[in-house]
């Protein structure tokens, strides 16, 4: 108090307000800092608390999960064991890994050459092809689902399996092609021309020169595709609903709630187990993922 009065006095008596102005500016900056970080913490709570509540509920007894309690009285880690012992859960896990693993590998292998051609070759119809890729990317899957279902179920007799979802991934995915093309555009043509002068053919140039440089783009596409398959609900619902042996985790999780009517604790434990792999993958590949998201919106 006294010091502030004295500064005021001094600044009033001498050249006006240089020290005081600096001080108010500093105080303003401090207040701003506090406001920003408080808002940051409040926002972080909004994002994190749902995870926390889900996790805490997953450790309650079935009785307590039906009450308004926020934290478990006794910690039931065995809920997780019970989820794994649920018939089908391990099969769904296996199916999800098969769908996501195979789907990702096929999409990367089939989309890279297409994206390379769209980014680096000059040919008639290139612009049109790109427009069609973007149109496919924007198309809701429900638009073509009736003929697709009839094709896979009636002609191919593959309903009740995940193959109608996996096989198309061997023929390029529009989003992956688009994203990879955006990435390949950033690789200078000089590298490719130099490789050709050294006598590399197209395929060798792609494999030896372009692919190593495109690793971050490929990593982003692989992650997106893995997450897409892991999260897919509509696909398994259309093709696999009749056969629980072919369900994935995302599809089975919902029926888990059906089978355990009131057991919110087990349902939340299963929810945690479906979220966990995705979040683990993210922590290992955070940079590639964030770069990929940015690439969809900003580059080009």
């Amino acid at each position: 108090m006294t010091s502030s009065v004295s500064t005021l006095d001094r600044s009033a008596s001498r050249t006006p307000t240089a020290g005081a102005a600096e001080k108010t500016a500093r105080r303003k900056a401090l207040l701003h800092w506090i406001a920003v970080h408080s808002l940051g913490i409040a926002t972080a709570l909004f994002f994190v608390l749902p995870f926390v509540f889900v996790f805490l509920t997953s450790l309650m007894s079935d009785q307590q999960a039906l009450t308004r309690d926020l934290t478990p009285n006794t910690w039931h880690w065995d809920n997780y064991v019970k989820v794994f012992e649920t018939p089908g859960f391990l099969t769904w896990w296996k199916n999800s890994l098969l769908y996501a693993g195979l789907g990702t590998a096929l999409v990367v292998v089939s989309s890279v050459p297409v994206a390379y051609a769209l980014a680096k070759f000059r040919f008639r119809g290139r612009h049109l092809s790109l427009l069609l890729v973007i149109s496919m990317m924007m198309l809701p899957p429900q638009v073509v689902i009736i003929p697709m279902y009839l094709f896979w179920a009636k002609q191919m007799d593959l309903s009740g399996t995940l193959w109608p979802l996996i096989v198309p991934m061997a023929f390029g995915d529009a989003f992956a092609v688009f994203l990879l093309r955006q990435f390949l555009l950033t690789i200078p043509d000089e590298y490719i021309e130099a490789a050709k002068i050294d006598g590399c053919g197209e395929l060798r140039t792609l494999v030896k020169i372009v692919l190593p440089m495109a690793k971050p783009g490929i990593a982003a596409v692989a992650l997106f595709q893995f997450f897409y398959c892991w999260n897919d609900y509509f696909g398994p619902q259309i093709y696999a609903s009749e056969n629980p042996g072919a369900w994935t985790l995302s599809y089975g999780l919902e029926s888990f709630k059906g089978a355990h009517h009131t057991d919110w604790n087990l349902t939340m434990a299963a929810t945690v187990l479906v979220m966990a792999p995705v979040i683990l993958v993210f922590f290992f590949a955070q940079k590639a993922f964030v770069e990929g998201v940015t690439l969809t919106g900003v580059k080009g």
């Binding site: 920003v36 926002t43 972080a44 994002f47 749902p50 509540f53 889900v54 009450t67 308004r68 089939s110 050459p113 051609a117 769209l118 070759f121 040919f123 290139r126 612009h127 092809s129 149109s135 496919m136 924007m138 809701p140 429900q142 638009v143 003929p147 697709m148 279902y149 009636k154 198309p168 023929f171 092609v177 955006q182 555009l185 197209e202 892991w230 999260n231 609900y233 509509f234 609903s241 009749e242 985790l249 999780l253 919902e254 029926s255 709630k257 059906g258 089978a259 009517h261 919110w264 349902t267 939340m268 929810t271 979220m275 995705v278 979040i279 964030v290 940015t294 919106g297 900003v298 580059k299």
Partner: protein, 320 residues
Amino acid sequence: MSSDSLEGRQAALRSKRVRNTLRTAAFMSPWLIGFSVFFAYPLVSTVYFSFMKYDGLNPPTWRGLDNWTYVFSDLPKFWPAMQNTLWLAVVMVACRVVFGLGTGLLITKIKLGAGLFRTLFYLPYLAPPVAATLAFVFLLNPGTGPVNSLLEAVGIPAPSWFNDTAWAKPALTVLAVWGVGDLMVIFMAALLDVPKEQYEAAELDGTSAWQRFRYVTLPNISPIVLFAVVTGIIGAMQYYTQPIVAAKVASGVMGGSGQTFEPGYPDDSTLTLPQLVYDLGFGRFDYGAACVVALVLFALSMAFTALLMRRRGGLIGSGD
């Protein structure tokens, strides 16, 4: 002699052109097959079935425009589904863009633990939709959910969220805003690209923070805002998993194996166009009507895609 070498050169040029075409075709072949079999053919087929009566058992028969008039004037669920889809395209997208921009701005201002905040803000975007929806139906559970417990503790009247026709779509919007991490990252990158000098110049002119946002930030990031709005609307056209899972779980009606569930609970308030395609096709085996709704959805998506590409040629990028 000279004509001979000219011919030779022309032949060489021609064979090079053939080789280039073959090379392009080879590299493009996965997509050419994929495009024909999984896009062009089913799209034509959808148009064909929209004029047919077909239930999957009896052979299809010609119905002319009957499916179309049925969907537009006699199908009681069509206009609610259309309304809900448009509601989501407006309200949900607006909330996501505003919140995404807000968190993007906030994250660029945070100095202490910026990396940690960014990760925390981003994480919900990764939660698998079925898991996230289940979690929110539990959190917003009217009787015992933690959110309503908190609201009642503070004395705010707690809505029934997923069980109330007026609150089901807002509840879905809260869920969508929770997963705003993708937009946050995109906005953050755009905000960091705004030239610093423009802010410094504006500050020298004695502008307020709001004026700097309005006249410096916003014009600089407007292409990204447009991108977020249009891709958000296209996403709203495909909005399927969250509403159908929320409706199933909140209503307590569970589809077992091979069973179908009539979406839209409560009272068609969460029914969207993609769900109507599913309901008509796989719930009632009216493939003709399902294809009509699918084509409406197609027209809407393509209209917004065209808007995106016209206003932002940047999406295609500088290949040349």
